[in-house]
Symmetry: C2
Subunit: 381 residues, 2 copies
């Protein structure tokens, strides 16, 4: 198992998950070959990664004269082309927001192992992605820590889960009142108490929208009805999620909050590989785990997501699109923290969801929601 | 899977585990047929169980004129004969102390599914039992809640565990000083804070000897070195044990402390079956899990067990035998609680363990240890 080298493409290699994926690959020499690397804007880092890992295929969004990436000998292809190259075994979707959608679909259609950290593609187009994966035989391997936990707990169980409980740290504003939330800044929201993550997902964690998106992601990944997926706040972030089985027995997965573990598990699955660089739980230092219900009133995004999930169709697409725009506006100080949920709510209210949407329906709903969110906010990005 | 009826023999049907096994069987009608029931002294209850479940084979230790068990039409056989009857698929070893050893061996040699709650057979003769199980193809299915938890966590994992952490409630005397322990009575020791169990195992839980025996049991069941098995006190008794894997990821199994769940899992494995009578974890009521290291100084039995386990050979047999006698003496108020560990320690010190013991070596060591314990205590049972 461990002896055959896996050929990887990493989409979003310069972001938080991309960088941590490359750390894992450095820690486990001889197991992986990097076939493709892609980046958005951070060409400085991409150039270094290309020099180190010598990929065959690259893609980058921005153009910068200072970087002669055209001289690297790498072939410049689109994200979708890289994701479906015959020489690639596993595609790591480490992009952020909507950016990974078409590449995820391309990888799924090409029957790849698709290690997915970027939750928006599944939220926006979960029905299409899971249907296409069944046709092509593609395997979707979750990297998100909660979904990795559920996946690990389901190992070897012959029956589907009776219930999934996603744990949440509660984010940096756990216990705040709505009034207190009115005045929080983007830089406060970006200080997550337990996880090192990208900006979009960190803001989503502060609003609890992230947990709502995870409910939808879990629904598609594990084929569990939305009302059988619940959320519990566990501020220590050591239990990464739990599964209840038909007999009432629960299993949980535990580790220190470090994305490299779920990344590594998706890459080495079903094998588990010692990695001295991963922090090990020290039980002598662990005294208490606490649990509390989420505060749906102060953090309305979680309820919005559950509602959109139950509505289905293009509802979750619109939720995602409005949230992505609203997060960007908040990070630019164009709206307040509490206005973020209001904006998403208004956009959802105005949308008539299309059931069983085609990819075109999804793209149109996405475009409409982005434009409408900006219009409502009276801003431009 | 669920459609074929399993034929069970329950050895120790009138004890705590036996009664709970029959509760599970009542809750899941149509799945099991009771082929054999055995009891020690409680013929009142055995007579009722025979009337209800109509077994083919029975055994009982004591004779009582008031019970015409000879008129039931059941065949009276020895424990070993019942355990190896061709019509029996699964043998539930619900006996206490040494009593189940020979029957466990008989069931293992006959290639049965052996659902084992009684830990002493594995502690005394783990090497022989596991070796014979490999030869016959018998499957040993743990019922002890900790070992069921480990077994559940290992489901579907292709590699052996890197480490096992057994949880312990800490028993009724958690936090007591040695001085306070001097004056505790058997009736205090029999009030376990979280589990309903038989008397022997409840006293063993109060001394932490039970956890020591579980370490040895886990060593044989899961083929994990003794120094890779540790103990953590978790007074809420909801996490029933944890497994660490090669990559540092942990899995835990959780439920309210109720033996019917691990009993049921051993009987329905690999299937999980809804049972409305089992209590379901209510996360809205769970606020805190706490963890603390065991107090090896105040509860010396745990260290004695670990030492005997590392010594190996007939060491664990002598540990078991001395403990069984000492527990009986304590329950009869013949020795103090704190004298129990002293007695076991002295007996172990006097014993020269025989490596790779035969069954005869084990029986001899067991006899010697029982006699020597009584001699040291200056008592008779």
């Amino acid at each position: 198992m461990g002896n055959s080298v896996k050929n990887l493409a990493i989409l979003g290699a310069t972001g938080s998950i991309g960088r941590q994926t490359l750390q894992v690959i450095r820690s486990l020499p001889g197991r992986f070959r990097i076939m493709g690397l892609t980046a958005g804007q951070n060409l400085d880092l991409l150039a270094k990664q290309i020099a180190e890992f010598q990929p065959k295929f690259i893609y980058y969004q921005s153009v910068n004269k200072h970087h002669k990436l055209t001289d690297t000998g790498c072939e410049f292809l689109s994200l979708e082309e890289i994701a479906s190259q015959p020489e690639v075994d596993t595609v790591v979707i480490a992009t952020s927001g909507k950016a990974g959608l078409l590449a995820t679909l391309a990888a799924v259609r090409a029957g790849k192992n698709v290690a997915i950290a970027n939750k928006e593609p599944l939220v926006m187009a979960g029905e299409i992605i899971t249907r296409e994966a069944k046709v092509s035989g593609a395997r979707i391997l979750p990297i998100d820590s909660e979904h990795s936990a559920v996946w690990q707990c389901l190992n070897g169980e012959p029956q589907p889960p009776a219930r999934i409980i996603l744990t949440a740290s509660g984010g940096p504003f756990r216990g705040y009142s709505t009034q207190e939330l009115n005045n929080v800044t983007a830089s406060q929201a970006l200080k997550h108490p337990s996880w090192q993550m990208g900006k979009k997902v960190t803001i989503d964690s502060a609003t609890l929208m992230n947990k709502g998106l995870e409910i939808i992601e879990a629904h598609w990944l594990f084929n569990v009805p939305i009302d059988k997926i619940s959320v519990i706040i566990h501020p220590q972030s050591i239990i990464h999620s739990m599964v209840e089985f038909a007999d009432g027995s629960f299993k949980a997965q535990l580790s220190y909050p470090d994305m490299r573990l779920p990344i590594q598990y998706a890459l080495t699955y079903p094998e588990r590989v010692p990695n001295p660089e991963l922090p090990k739980l020290e039980w002598s230092k662990i005294k208490t785990f606490t649990f509390e219900p989420p505060d749906f009133t102060t953090f309305p995004c979680l309820k919005l997501a559950i509602k959109a999930a139950k509505t289905g169709g293009t509802g979750p697409t619109v939720l995602c699109a409005a949230d992505e725009v609203a997060v960007e506006l908040f990070m630019k100080d164009a709206i307040k923290f509490t206005e973020l949920a209001c904006l998403v709510k208004q956009v959802l209210q105005e949308h008539k969801p299309i059931p069983n949407p085609t990819l075109e329906d999804i793209m149109q709903a996405d475009n409409w929601a982005r434009e409408y969110t900006l219009k409502l906010a009276g801003k431009k990005i």
